[in-house]
Amino acid sequence: MVTQRIDHKWGMVVDLDRCTGCQACVVACQAENNIPINTKEYFQQRRAYEWIRIERYWEGEFPNVKAKFIPILCQHCENAPCEPVCPVFATYHNDEGLNVQVYNRCVGTRYCSVNCPYTVRFFNYWEPQWPDRLRNQLNPDVTVRSRGIMEKCSFCVQRLRRGEVNVERRGLDTLTGQSIPVAERKLNHRQMKEGNYLPSCVQACPTSALQFADQHDETGPVKSYFDEANGHIETREAGGHVNEEETRVYRLFEEVGTKPNLIYLKKVEPFPVEKA
């Protein structure tokens, strides 16, 4: 019998009602993941690297205008369109429900990016460069990607790995500092606590708009939302109807059938913009 060493399914919930568009997550991600500095030129050429980006949409006509923000990052889809199209298996799904990118294998056909409905895959058009004074701020846990390959949000897989090493190898409960009994050094949501795996964007979010946890964790912040969203999928597949007015839970581009591991909660509008 094959025993599964890893018993996880990560998920993130983005509460759009809480998002203020402050871009703290963008900066945190940039610092954590060794992402090159985005110059003005990169933005103008639409080649900026933003593993998580805040998209800003205007609603209404001037002067009745409201800005709306939506953070978009890799959705770590269950049926990821990027995975089957890679000719060299540089992107695949791992045991933890993550869509991972293997930089070494990537040849840079860019097909995955073409086939990503969320446009969250970033191609290294140039060799990445940092100013000299930033040389020593690179995160040693994260690869510096060379030119010619794809990169994208990894749910800060290096932090997940560090948490796993803490639990499985070192037997250290990072929240309390206590040692974990050997029999309980298992990679499940009871041992993996928030303290040792939070992605940097979640950690940086001042309004807790981003929540990240194991989807099976009853005490975690995301399980109820994932249960609701999966219920919607089941209802729809059974031919039923989901009343969008009554639920805040939705997934981005659900109709493409990608089944993302990332859920958005709709913005609650107490004062909706008057439609002209």
Partner: protein, 463 residues
Amino acid sequence: MQEGTPLQSRQINRELLVSILNSPKWFWMAVGILGLIVLFAMGTAGLMINKGMGVTGLNRPVMWGFFITNFVFWIGISHAGVMLSAILRLSKAEWRRPATRAAEILTVFSLMTAMMMPLIHTGRPWRLVYWIYTVPFVPYDYARGIWPNVRSPLVWDPSAVYTYLTSSILFVIIALIPDFAVLRDRTTGISNKIYGMLAMGWQGNPRQWKLQIIAGVLLSALILPVFVSVHSIVSWDFGMAVSVKSWHSTIFAPYFVVGAVHSGVSAVAFVLIILRYIYGWQNYIRHEHIDALARLLIVVATGWFYFLVMEIVFGFYGREADEIAVRNLQFMITPWNIWMMIFVGVTYFLPVAIWLSRSARRNLWIMSLACISVNVGMWLERFLIIVPGLARKQLLTFDWYTYTPSAVEWIIVGATFAMVSMLMLVIARVVPLIPLYDIKEGEILRTEIKIGRVSVPATFRED
């Protein structure tokens, strides 16, 4: 359908080998200029590989641009080979005879050129061994259990194209054996030795002829599935992309195949006109041949036009906002709408209007114009499918963008045309681009039938 005067074998040999046995002054100059263009473009490609893909105009939503457009275009050109040599051979169209070899050789060279495009457009071409596992003597990295992903259209694609390339090369070589023997008998020195080897001991005895004919017919039949598969698979590079709304369409495979035949046959007609002009092959590439190609093209073009209209109709039929956004870009927003109008005009309305008139079909200048305009249009077609589809991929309007090709892309794309021309010129120096034995066979089969008081040229065959 046999116009012109009967030709003697001696005259056929003398006139068709003119491209090999004599080399005019302009020849080396033309090859030299084209070669310089190709070298320059190779240097540009080297710069691109050295600096990174940043030197192109590609950006985040539009990750594929000129190179992929050019790839699909050249694959399309290559479809003329199988159309003319296999299908017309099996359907016993007599007028195919002078066109077959030029078409097949154009196929081989355009496939080679086409395959270079996706290879240099990758970010790390030096890692291609992970992908192109078919390269001989290069060990594939299977020690870690990593094989190419057979679910990816980008693996189907090289498989189909290399199958086509292999069968086309075989086809060319088998058809060349009797002509190599003719050349062996007419050359001296080292070229005599080389042609002798290539002729593989051809004596022209009945058994050899039988084998050669069987091999040709067999290959024609075996190559037919490739005719459908190659461009279908190329179209699936796009059709399989679930996330790009305007690409994800079931009509793409037949649409691309018919479009490929349209551009390929036009290109062959143009090549034939050029050959007739530069080597003085008026007796072989006659007006009737160009005329027949043009009439074939009317049918192909109209079939293609049907798919074009259907593709647009299917796009609008769903009335989905994201699909409408692509169509809006294509039809309403400048400069895309101007390109769209030019594309439909030069691909269908202008050439078909020309081909409908018999006198225009027989005017080589007008025919050249029509054939070039078809190919300009078919290039634009691929561009207008690929780039607007990516620029308006999904409804995240924040990410919508456009695409402006850079000088590097222009140079490399332009040089592919120089490269195919150069290779065609060089091969014309080595092998006869019109099959000698095929023309002779046509002359033997040629006869005249008396109907009432007129005698009509006809072809007589027993089978």
